[in-house]
């Protein structure tokens, strides 16, 4: 018998399995179950789970909500482009637009406060990649994703776009301040 010949024993299913093999199969099974339970366990007890709150939307609808939020909460503008810096009310909702090729606006958060950050794209897929924290979330046009976030560190954070979105992809860098 060989791997390139039919099994020499016609009733190969009835052959007994060696004890070492059984043991390994058992170990593999148990390890698989542990990994499966880990994901469920983390949903119940873990503090880093991606929100499941999402809505179908349109770029126009989302942009309107974001513009209203920006108009009400802007505290200053930055750079020559006059990008608004928007202070998100602690415990409240913040909106972040992903579009070719920027993240708009700049958000200002407070450490230890929980925020509902609404993410959506105006055009192509984009990738929300918060650095150097390293949290990465897909941003999809037509979908509003509401992610509850609590910053645990202060400073200036970058939002890199890490989903390819065309020729200016590498210039798509946003900012979040945490006080």
């Amino acid at each position: 018998m060989s791997s390139i010949l039919p099994p020499s024993n016609r009733l190969w299913w009835k052959e007994s399995i060696d004890k070492t093999e059984w043991t390994w199969i058992g170990i593999a099974f148990v390890w698989g179950m542990i990994m499966f339970v880990m994901m469920i366990y983390w949903h119940i007890y873990g503090k880093q789970n991606l929100s499941n709150e999402a809505y179908k939307t349109t770029p126009e609808m989302f942009a309107a909500k974001a513009e209203k939020f920006i108009a009400e909460n802007t505290i200053r503008t930055e750079t020559d482009l006059e990008i608004p810096v928007v202070k998100v009310p602690p415990g409240g909702d913040g909106y972040l637009i992903a579009r070719l090729w920027n993240w708009y606006p700049i958000l200002e958060l407070q450490e230890g406060k929980e925020y509902k950050i609404h993410l959506s794209s105006m055009d192509y897929n984009h990738g929300f990649s918060l650095q150097p924290v390293n949290i990465n979330i897909q941003v999809i046009p037509g979908y509003e994703h509401v992610v509850k976030m609590t910053p645990t560190s202060t400073g200036t954070f970058a939002i890199v776009c890490n989903e390819f979105c065309g020729i200016g992809h590498h210039t798509m860098l946003g900012r979040i301040y945490v006080k």
């Binding site: 009733l11 190969w12 299913w13 009835k14 809505y55 179908k56 939307t57």
Partner: protein, 50 residues
Amino acid sequence: MADNENDNDIPFMQKLLDNHFLLLVIGVVSPGVLYILWGIIDIMNTPLAK
């Protein structure tokens, strides 16, 4: 051929593994239901934004 005379002794699982077209069907249906169909249902159930 000798294999015909003792076909009745062949265990169920061996018969399944020797039935290539049945394997094809379950190999397409399993992900077709668990991944594609359930996935479409998930996407369709996404509520509209207010």
